[in-house]
């Protein structure tokens, strides 16, 4: 049995600023706890860009008003703005926690992009998609990397939230307020993101 690889980076990935903002405190806390660098990745999802071209797609702003006349250029500009703000927020949070940090703005499909970025020892933090909810619980999947357990416990203590250990988590039951600590598996990532609504902390 090989010794557990120490955490090198905590990578917070998001497809927009709203997702990143929601998960930034969690990611910063994990990096501080693990003594790792904090990395931010804004992935300009190809599917989202494609939406701007799809005649059938509809857009609704966060206040519930329908948006019209979107095109790839406006969507691209919106990504650039989100990337800039994400980087600023990340830098401020990392500086306040005395962490080294990095930021990357990339394009591609989410699962493929993450698979390309993650290296052994990294911790991926993936927001809960379109759903927003306050953090309610920390869930540690059985069989996860040994290094995940102390991080999950520390996060639960820091956030004053209960920690559940589940042998076989029913992913469909985990809502947007749950944070699931589990193992990163690149080939299952797309299905995992499509089939769950919780926040993921994945050990690479």
């Amino acid at each position: 049995m090989s010794a557990p690889v120490s955490t090198v980076r905590v990578i917070l990935s998001a497809t927009c600023l709203a997702e990143a903002e929601a998960a930034l405190p969690l990611a910063t806390g994990l990096a501080a706890e693990a003594g790792a660098a904090l990395a931010g990745v804004l992935i300009e999802d190809a599917d989202n860009i494609a939406l701007a071209l799809a005649g059938a797609a509809r857009f609704v702003d966060p206040a519930g008003r329908m948006l019209a006349g979107l095109d790839p250029a406006r969507m691209g500009a919106a990504y650039a703005r989100d990337a800039a703000r994400f980087e600023r927020l990340l830098a401020r949070a990392a500086t306040a926690a005395a962490l080294s940090w990095s930021f990357r703005h990339t394009q591609g499909r989410l699962a493929e992009a993450l698979a390309g970025i993650a290296a052994p020892g990294d911790l991926l933090v993936l927001p809960a998609g379109p759903m927003r909810a306050p953090l309610r619980e920390i869930v540690l999947a059985a069989g996860a990397d040994a290094a995940l357990a102390p991080l999950a416990e520390a996060a639960a203590a820091r956030l004053s939230r209960p920690l559940r250990r589940l042998a076989a988590p029913d992913l469909a039951q985990l809502g947007a307020g749950s944070v699931l600590f589990s193992q990163f598996e690149a080939q299952r990532l797309a299905a995992l993101l499509a089939g769950t609504r919780c926040i993921h902390v994945l050990r690479s």
Partner: protein, 812 residues
């Protein structure tokens, strides 16, 4: 005192002096202390009335000469009256929470202002600990989380249902930088646009309809979010208020109970309770950054933090409940506007002047409220706006605080308009008489607001009883000042000096300050000599030393005479020239000085030229005196003929102003000498005024005048012939220095009282004055006979000049 004979030299037994006092004690240590002020019964009666009555506007003006005990008597009488009065209520300013510009004034029983202040400090200190604890408690956190969770779950559930419904209809909801996207899906991913375009029309229409339906539902869910957040905030707010209310009520319970019987305090505490509940977040402010400092703030002193000043109690008048007794007696030595009515202070905050009710400071009117306020009249009148403010407060019966800048609209910064405080006190102004009469004349409010006057006399009738009272007062002064007791001969010398200060051998002067100064200096001399008591010689030495210190000008004046710079004859005889006497008073120095008065006469049209007046050096009273001489001459001599005299009168070598009529007798004697062509004995000097009937009248400063001529004569050698003619009515005023009295006793100097001009001119010329005989004429060789003859001669000569020349004279 023996009968006074005019025209005869006085002896020392005719004069008042220390020998007159037979005091039946060895030293003042044997005497009972005197707590009263002798000779001031009238003033003390007024003081006691002002101190005792409750009627409004019976304020008092204490007038009199400085040194007569005005201040000490006022202080003592008021202190005695104040001790019998109940202590006044305490007064505080508190915040008016709905209008902080207008602080509320509250009246409390004596000693309870500090209690209220401390009680509210404790409330704040307790809440500063309790409220954070309440909001950090598990109970609060759980209840708040439950509220937040209920709303977020509702939203989450709605989004979840929508997401499931969308998935079932083949539609995906994704998050993008522009918001939410709703698009057809293919498995777990978005259906690419080109694939979508290849779908059959019917399928595209079905997907389009599904997308529109999901989009519409999504819009509803998202629009519901702000409403949910608002409701959530309201619910959290209600929770916060409920939690704060519990803490505030617990903290305030003690204060509310202790002040339950004071409606105004209870009202304030209720308003404070509402404000505490509404602003509970003030207690959750954490001190971060630079303000936190290296050390934590002591947990018991949270009330000092700026955010809690709104809950403070500003004690304007507060008394220690253990020591509160009697009414206050306040003496304000600097009665500026602010020191009288209080002031509102300001602090600079980022370049702006700001203030609040805790920066209201009380004035003397606040501190004296319910008691007595002693002010110096001149000080109040010379401080800008102070007199106006004092009158305004007394008239309105309340103290309103404002600044001079505000009154003149000189400041535009935000300020306060505190409730005026009810005012009930007795104001006592101490000042001089002139000011009192000016105020009475020119300020219509003065008489209404200051109905009482305490007029301190500056002299007291001399008697054995009053001498003993004064002796006791001298003993009391010595005792109070920690001086040696005064021996009987020392007291006698002081009593004589008191007569001298009054310029009257029959009245004691009541300038206690001057007597006190002599006493202290005499004690200093007695200590140097190792004496146990202050004796006569010590007092005499103190008086002489004070005279010497103030004697530079007097010595210069005598020096000018002895060096011949100022021409004064003290022997021989001269026609139309007489020694007159004047008094110079500069600062504390007062001394007599001889001066030469001369007269020249010739025929004229009845004009008496007063050279002093012509040169504008003579004052109106002096001019009046000279005019009286014309009346005397015209009425006394050759009444049937035109008054045909031209005469000039002058004070020789006088370059300053001349005022008063005390030299009119001397001027008349010079005139008569010139008219009679009879020389005047220069070893004599004259003082006194005359009337048109030739009576010699009393003048002031007789002691200094006699001593002034005595010193001149003594410097040249006393001959025994030298002396001074004084009005007989001035004899009771003679309290001469021992050197003069000794010379008089030894027959080396004379003081001769006269009652009429005739007596005086006879003494001065050595000729009988002469009275009209049966033929209506004066004896030819008498003074009057010679004067009348001269005047008749002038009249006849004038008549001749007035006659027309005879034809023979004109024809030549």
């Amino acid at each position: 005192m023996d009968q006074i004979a005019t025209g005869q030299p006085l002896s020392a037994r005719h004069l008042a002096g220390e020998e007159d006092f037979a005091l039946g004690f060895a030293t003042t240590a044997e005497l009972d202390p005197l707590s009263d002020w002798p000779g001031q019964d009238r003033a003390l009666e007024a003081l006691r009335l002002a101190a005792g009555t409750d009627h409004g506007d019976f304020n008092l003006y204490v007038l009199g000469t400085p040194g007569t005990g005005r201040h000490s008597a006022t202080r003592q009488v008021l202190a005695e009256a104040a001790a019998r009065r109940p202590p006044p209520p305490d007064r505080v300013y508190v915040n008016r929470f709905d209008d902080p510009r207008r602080p509320i004034a509250i009246e409390l029983p004596p000693g309870r202002a500090v209690e209220l202040r401390d009680a509210l400090r404790k409330v704040v200190n307790d809440l500063a600990d309790d409220i954070p604890a309440i909001f950090e408690s598990e109970d609060y956190q759980t209840r708040r989380r439950a509220i937040e969770d209920s709303y977020s779950e509702r939203h989450e559930q709605a989004m979840g249902v929508l997401a499931d419904a969308a998935r079932a209809r083949g539609v995906a909801i994704v998050r993008t930088p522009m918001g939410f996207g709703v698009a057809p899906r293919k498995g777990d991913e978005i259906l690419p646009p080109d694939e979508y375009e290849k779908l059959p029309q019917a399928e595209r229409e079905r997907i389009g309809a599904a997308i529109d339906a999901v989009r519409a539902q999504l819009e509803d869910v998202l629009k519901d979010v702000p409403r949910g957040l608002k409701a959530q905030r309201a619910e959290v707010e209600e929770l916060n208020i409920a939690m704060a209310r519990e803490g505030v009520d617990a903290a305030l319970a003690d204060a509310l109970g202790r002040f339950a019987d004071h409606p105004s305090v209870t009202r304030h505490l209720q308003a404070l309770r509402e404000d505490l509940i509404d602003n509970a977040e003030l207690f959750l402010i954490r001190e971060d950054g630079a303000q936190a400092g290296a050390f934590p703030v002591a947990t018991s002193r949270h009330h000092l933090k700026p955010q809690f000043r709104r809950y403070a109690v500003n004690v304007i008048v507060g008394q220690d409940p253990d020591q509160a007794s009697g009414a206050p007696v306040i003496e304000e030595s600097l009665p500026t506007l602010a020191n009288l009515i209080g002031r509102i202070e300001y602090a600079s905050d980022q370049g702006t002047l700001v203030t609040n009710f805790t920066m209201i400071r009380p004035g003397a009117l606040h501190r004296a409220n319910g008691g007595f306020l002693i002010l110096d009249a001149m000080q109040v009148l010379t401080e800008p706006l102070a007199w106006d403010a004092l009158k305004r407060s007394l008239k309105s019966g309340e103290v309103a605080i404002y600044s001079a800048g505000e009154r003149f609209s000189l400041i535009s910064t935000e300020t306060l308009d505190p409730d005026p405080m009810p005012l009930k006190l007795r104001v006592v102004l101490v000042g001089d008489r002139r000011l009192y009469y000016l105020l009475a004349e020119f300020d219509p409010d003065f008489g209404r607001l200051f109905k009482l006057e305490a007029d301190f006399d500056d002299r007291m009738e001399r008697s054995a009883d009053s001498a003993l009272l004064l002796a006791r007062l001298i003993g009391t002064m010595a005792r109070d000042d920690g001086l040696r007791p005064v021996a009987a001969d020392g007291v006698a010398r002081l009593l004589a000096e008191s007569l001298r200060l009054a310029d009257d051998g029959e009245r004691f002067g009541l300038n206690l300050a001057a007597l006190g100064d002599i006493l202290r200096e005499a004690d200093h001399i007695a200590r140097a000599s190792g004496a146990d008591a202050i004796g006569r010689d010590d007092v005499e030495a103190a008086i002489a030393a004070a005279d010497r210190r103030a004697g530079r000008l007097r010595e210069r004046s005598q020096e000018a005479i002895s060096r011949g710079l100022l021409l004064i004859d003290t022997d021989g005889a001269r026609v139309g020239q007489v020694n007159a006497l004047s008094v110079l008073e500069i600062g504390k120095t007062r001394f007599g000085r001889p001066g030469r008065v001369s007269a020249r006469v010739r025929m004229g049209a009845g004009k008496l030229v007063d050279i002093e007046r012509e040169a504008e050096l003579g004052g109106p009273i002096h001019s009046k005196g000279v005019m009286i001489l014309s009346g005397y001459l015209a009425g006394s001599y050759a009444p049937d003929l035109p008054f045909s005299l031209w005469a000039s009168l002058v004070f020789e070598q006088s370059y300053g102003g001349v005022e008063g009529d005390s030299a009119s007798a001397a001027e008349l004697f010079a005139l008569l000498s010139a008219l009679a062509d009879l020389p005047i004995d220069q070893s004599l000097a004259v003082t006194g005024s005359v009337n048109q009937f030739g009576e010699v009248q009393a003048i002031g400063g007789v002691n200094e005048k006699v001593e002034g001529f005595f010193d001149t004569c003594a410097a040249r050698g006393l001959t025994g012939r030298q002396g001074v003619l004084i009005p007989v009515s001035n004899v009771p005023h003679l309290v001469l220095r021992p050197r003069v009295r000794d010379a008089m006793d030894a027959g080396r100097f004379r003081v001769i009282p006269i009652a009429t001009v005739d007596e005086g001119i006879a003494l001065l010329t050595g000729r009988p004055t002469g009275v009209r005989g049966g033929n209506g004429a004066f004896p030819p060789d008498s003074v009057n006979g010679r004067v009348e003859a001269r005047l008749i001669g002038y009249a006849e000569a004038r008549q001749r000049f007035g006659q027309k020349p005879s034809p023979s004279e004109t024809d030549g």
